[in-house]
């Protein structure tokens, strides 16, 4: 390539660079909506910043404020417990600023879903403070986001499904306003939906926060609006200027946040087994969770406690999970015993898994082929009589089990 050509090429690249470098569009401050007076009357405070206006509501609670079973200040005990614990996704230290966070939105997903309420609940050690920021109208969005200070401060965000919903949604809103406001900071996230699922799997049918409140946290809402009405209520408030119903959404959000605090306290206490206060299923779930986190000692302890503490009809799964740990630790005979204890109290798919484990232990470790054969045959019978599986699922299982049966029979005939 000739020298001139090279220079020409560089010139073109130079051109591209300047082309991609774009001037930030100047921000035009949107007009103030005409209903601010009415919203103020309803109990909201008007806030104005460089990007427009928004509304705010602040509520403080004394440390002794009781919400259901717990006083808010029990949060400090919970943090204390975590400070002395092994690694855990829910562990925090007293150096962190815990901010309980929940939003209300106009939809479930996509760029067309607005966040119209950002709710924060936190404590300075003296009292608890709820701060709610309300979108004045969609044109004043930058003002709302800017005011949340989430671009500035560092906090540990505690939420309910926030990791996959509220926070990504916030990121979306932020991206749309990226030309004007500073970047959103990445914050540490603790999502209590995750722990709730681990704790109460097979125990609670629905993992809705209101269900948890009633079943586990001792709180019953009175006069709450159902969450799915929130979008329509906000739309109406913007269109009509009437904010009375909107205030109910704010109360709904307030309850959500208070319950997040007590849920965190409650889950922590369960995980540290302060006292046996929940069902065998819950503690079995806790034991399995510790096992999955590779904190085997704690896991085995919890499961053993379950088997000692509850009636045999409720401890099937605890025995099953204990057996899996015992097998991993090469304690085959104990594992087999635990499995046999588990059998009468577990459902069919687990029974099938238990017979599979028994067959494996008998065949490969205890080398008792007769017994292995019996377990395998029982397993096969269970599979064929199990009604909830499709024929395809059964087919798959059959081919696996028949192979095993064939191999064991061969070994017996040798």
């Amino acid at each position: 390539m000739s020298y001139e050509n090279k220079i020409l090429q560089m010139k073109k690249m130079l051109g591209k660079k300047t082309e991609t470098k774009q001037e930030k569009p100047a921000f035009i401050k949107p007009d103030v909506p005409n209903y601010i007076g009415k919203w103020q009357q309803a109990g909201l405070t008007l806030v104005e910043n460089d990007f427009g206006v928004l509304f705010k509501r602040v509520v403080t609670y004394p440390l002794t404020y009781r919400h259901g079973h717990y006083e808010l200040q029990e949060l400090f005990d919970a943090i204390g417990l975590w400070e002395q614990s092994e690694e855990h996704p829910y562990a925090v230290t007293s150096d962190e600023t815990l901010v309980f966070f929940d939003t209300e939105t106009t939809g479930l997903k996509g760029v067309g879903t607005h966040i119209f309420l950002l709710g924060f609940l936190e404590t300075d050690g003296e009292e608890f403070t709820l701060t709610q920021y309300v979108l004045a109208d969609p044109s004043n969005e930058a003002a709302l986001l800017f005011e949340s200070k989430l671009w500035q401060r560092t906090a540990t965000i505690v939420s309910y499904n926030g990791k996959s919903f509220d926070w990504p949604q916030l990121e979306t809103r932020w991206t749309l306003n990226q030309a004007y406001i500073p970047k959103l900071r990445q914050q540490k996230q603790i999502d209590l939906l995750h722990s709730t699922k681990r704790l109460w799997k097979n125990d609670l049918g629905k993992m809705k926060l209101t269900t948890i409140e009633q079943e586990k946290l001792g709180f019953q809402r009175v006069g709450d609006i159902p969450g799915f009405l929130a979008p329509i209520i906000y739309l109406d408030a913007v269109k009509s200027g009437q904010a009375d119903a909107l205030m109910k959404v704010l109360h709904h959000n307030e309850w959500d946040l208070l319950s997040l605090v007590t849920l965190y306290i409650h889950s922590t206490q369960l995980l540290f087994q302060k006292e046996i206060s929940d069902s065998a299923i819950t503690y079995t779930n806790i034991g399995k969770w510790y096992n999955d986190l590779k904190q085997k000692n704690t896991g085995i302890n919890v499961l053993t406690t379950v088997t000692e503490h509850f009636d045999i009809t409720d401890t099937g799964l605890a025995h099953f999970y204990l057996a899996m740990e015992q097998k991993r630790a090469c304690q085959y005979e104990q594992a087999a015993k635990s499995l046999i204890k588990a059998l009468p109290a577990i459902d069919i798919p687990f029974q099938i898994r238990a017979y599979e484990q028994l067959a494996i232990i008998a065949e490969h470790h205890l080398r008792d082929y007769e017994e292995a054969k019996v377990y395998t045959q029982t397993g096969l019978q269970l599979i064929s009589s199990h009604e909830k599986w499709s024929s395809l699922q059964k087919e798959k299982q059959f081919s696996k089990w028949e192979k095993r049966l064939h191999r064991i029979t061969n070994k017996l005939n040798k």
Binding site: G107, G110, V111, H114, S139, T172, L176
Partner: protein, 760 residues
């Protein structure tokens, strides 16, 4: 029988003296080959790209590839006409890769009409990228993409290969997750442009307008590169689809081997009713000859059922060999792994014969075969040439056999080779102005980004439409903007593949666990999913046991019966507004909006093969209303005709005209409907309505308004030349009795033609 391998020319020579064959061959046509035309690599082509090409044995570019590169570098959007096997993918790969190598933050979107095509192209592109040694990430992004790698694709993918449906509902409504793509989008590649026509194309035109709107928000202004099969109006289609000026690359530099076309018309077995031998059986016999001569062949059939039939027939050729895989079927509904294996078998030659639906018409890489058989005319010239293009290895001689069916369109084509070889492929029309489609996408656009009080959308001014949407309660107006404000997700309510807003879900109850096996637009469902209807899905018969019209669900169960069902739809038409009109002596041709009331009446059970009517029943589905656009022609009742005579003649005329519409417009037979009325409601005169089969219209009937005269001429000519005595499925439709209906139909058509030729 002893068989031996033959070359195409040896085979053709033998056929020249085959009396049996010769009788049915209506036309031989040879297209001479053409040598390749080359240009050197462009100066600025990046060295790593150059070496990647050289590794593939490419030392220079075909002229069209070079032209494409130069235009792209100049920053011009363009459309290239690319016949099969002309190396079209380099038309876009080269400029795109060049850009990304020079600037690693650059991004490109490749749009393919289907998921499968995107996945095919991925392999090809990745091989090229690997040969460059550059780190360029290309991914397919569709419903099959694992959730685990989606984040990576969004952030780091240089080239995103996807389809319009995914763009519509999976990418655009979530554009904030794709910031790095939209901020740096340099190229949008639209492959198989010609497939974006009719309702689907009109939808995609809006998806692209939305895409461009989002690009503008993030400050990018991408260049469009389109590639298309031969159609009449590629530049116009590309410009309407993308709302952007395009330059056209019309001439391909790729070499073409000599091609011999044989037009084969099955013999007439019943002269009176004009019944010909089944095309499928003829294809079976011809395929057998090609198979025995060892010629690698692709056979196109129009439906999945026909593919399966032919495969079954042909497999008997190899039945005596164990594990012989040399004959295969290929169609939608096969597993991706099965399809990949067949494609590979075709490339390496282990498969000698493949029977396919038009699934293999598009750019799936199967290499080039020696011969192609078309079972029936695929419906339009562009498809026919795409199918024919599958035969012909570079410089080798190729054989294309077209076996005509007995439909009017097929019989016209087989008897008018000049039409086929003439230079006028069909037009592909789309209509982004369709207000229903426009409103659908305006909602999506408002969901994606707010509109200001001065914003336009594409070429449309939309402030009044936005005000309407505010009244509907999905938008809210602030001091400066219109914002989406509803918990609905509009993209999920809008399917690109149909303009009807609601679909009927088809649920299979054969197994205890009910399974959704498909969807159908409500209009078609009226005649295809009524209770007791036999619904065919992937060659399996299902009977509709229950149709829940309120909930739009059809419950079906697998059955094995020897009949199919055929339902009647009574249509009432009402003229709502007349936009254009031409007065003749005693006839009027008009174009405008019509209201249509479709009332399903009865269905018949018809036995396979014999087509005996073996039963019937009522259909209880409420009538359906639809607004669409139509062209209609009214005339005075001819003297001395009874109403009954006129009804028959009009029905025949409508049948004949309807068959020819795909010849003029690049559209499916079902995109337009032709309905005659002896006494139209609005003027009491005999009238033939030709209307768009989709709510709101897609611009096809408006074209008919302009070309009605030539449509009539062509129809008359064909009906006159049809060898049948009194009407047959090839001209005016099957007739119950031997009357003079053919004459009557011609009379009506001629009256209309004469009227229109008369100049005031």
């Amino acid at each position: 029988m002893f068989s031996k391998k033959k070359s195409i020319s040896e085979l053709l020579q033998a056929w020249q003296y085959d009396e049996e064959l010769k009788e049915n061959i209506v036309h031989w046509h040879t297209l001479d080959g053409k040598a390749a035309e080359y240009e050197p690599f462009p100066e600025e082509l990046h060295p790593s790209l150059k070496s990647a090409l050289q590794k593939r044995g490419i030392e220079q570019l075909y002229t069209h590839q070079r032209e494409a590169f130069d235009k792209a570098v100049r920053g011009v959007s363009f459309t290239a006409i690319t016949p099969t096997a002309s190396g079209k993918s380099l038309c876009y790969h080269l400029p795109v890769l060049q850009e990304i190598i020079n600037n690693k933050s650059s991004r490109a979107i490749y749009l393919f009409p289907t998921k499968a095509l995107a996945q095919d192209q991925k392999t090809d592109l990745n091989e090229l990228i690997e040969a460059t040694g550059e780190e360029i990430l290309s991914y397919t992004y569709d419903g099959d993409t694992a959730p685990g790698i989606r984040t990576k694709i969004r952030k780091a993918g240089h080239i995103i290969m996807t389809n319009p449906d995914m763009l519509h509902s999976g990418i655009l409504p979530h554009h904030t997750k794709w910031v790095s793509l939209f901020e740096n989008l340099k190229y949008i590649v639209i492959d198989e442009l010609h497939t974006y026509k009719g309702v689907f194309g009109s939808h995609v035109a809006h998806v692209i307008r939305r895409l461009k709107r989002i690009c503008a928000f993030y400050g990018s202004n991408p260049i469009f590169i389109c590639t298309s099969a031969t159609i009449k109006n590629p530049k116009e289609l590309a410009e309407t689809l993308t709302n952007e000026k395009h330059e056209l690359i019309a001439k391909s530099g790729a070499p073409i081997g000599k091609k011999t076309f044989i037009f084969y018309n099955p013999p007439i077995v019943n002269t009176t009713f004009g019944v010909r031998r089944s095309a499928v059986l003829e294809v079976r016999d011809l395929s057998k000859r090609l198979f025995e001569a060892g010629i690698q062949t692709i056979i196109f059939a129009k439906s999945r059922v026909r593919v399966e039939m032919l495969v079954t027939y042909l497999k008997s050729l190899t039945a005596k060999k164990i594990q012989d895989e040399s004959i295969q079927g290929y169609r939608g509904g096969y597993l991706p792994s099965e399809r990949r294996a067949i494609e590979k078998g075709l490339r390496d030659g282990s498969i000698q014969m493949v029977v396919s639906t038009n699934a293999l018409e598009l750019g799936v890489d199967i290499g080039q075969l020696q011969a192609c058989i078309m079972t029936g005319y695929p419906g339009n010239i562009a498809s026919a040439w795409q199918q024919a293009g599958r035969a012909g290895r570079r410089q080798d001689e190729a054989l294309i056999i077209y076996v005509a069916q007995s439909t009017a369109l097929d019989q016209y084509i087989v008897n008018h080779p000049t039409y086929f070889f003439g230079t006028h492929p069909e037009e592909a029309r789309i209509n982004p102005d369709n207000i229903i489609i426009l409103m659908d996408h305006l909602k999506c656009a408002a969901f994606e980004l707010p509109f200001s009080m001065t914003d336009t959308y594409g070429e449309f001014t939309v402030q009044e439409l936005l005000a309407y949407l505010e009244k509907e309660g999905v938008l809210v107006k602030t001091s400066t903007q219109w914002h989406w404000m509803s918990d609905r997700f509009p993209a999920h309510e809008i399917s690109l593949r149909s303009a009807a807003q609601e679909n009927v879900v088809i649920i299979d109850m054969t197994l205890p666990q009910n399974k959704v096996i498909g969807e159908m637009d409500t209009y078609s469902a009226m005649t295809l999913l009524h209770e007791e209807a036999i619904y065919m899905h992937q060659g399996t018969q299902f009977q509709v046991e229950e149709l829940d019209w309120e909930e739009k669900k059809a419950y079906v169960r697998e059955v094995e019966v020897d009949y199919f069902t055929d339902a009647n739809l009574a249509v009432e038409l009402k003229v709502l507004s007349e936009d254009k009109s031409a007065e003749y002596k005693s006839a009027t041709v008009s174009y405008g909006d019509v209201g249509l009331l479709a009332i399903p009446t009865i269905f018949k059970k018809i036995r396979f093969n014999t087509h005996d009517n073996i039963g019937s029943g009522p259909i209880s589905i409420p009538p359906m209303e639809m607004h669409t656009s139509a062209t209609w022609v009214s005339f005075d009742m001819p003297e001395n005709w009874s109403e009954e005579q006129l009804t028959d003649a009009l029905n025949g005329a409508a049948y004949a005209m309807g068959s020819f519409i795909p010849l003029f417009l690049h559209c499916d037979r079902s995109d337009l409907s032709v309905v005659p009325q002896v006494k139209a409601v609005h003027n009491d005169r005999p009238t033939i309505f030709i209307y768009d089969s989709y709510p709101g219209g897609i611009g096809l009937s408006e074209r008919i308004y302009d070309i009605l005269l030539s449509l009539l001429e062509r129809t008359i000519e064909h009906v006159e030349n049809c060898p049948c005595k009194s009407g047959c499925p090839s001209c005016i439709g099957a007739q119950d009795s031997l009357g003079d209906s053919k004459k009557q139909v011609l009379k009506v058509l001629t009256i209309l033609k004469d009227e229109m030729e008369w100049l005031p």
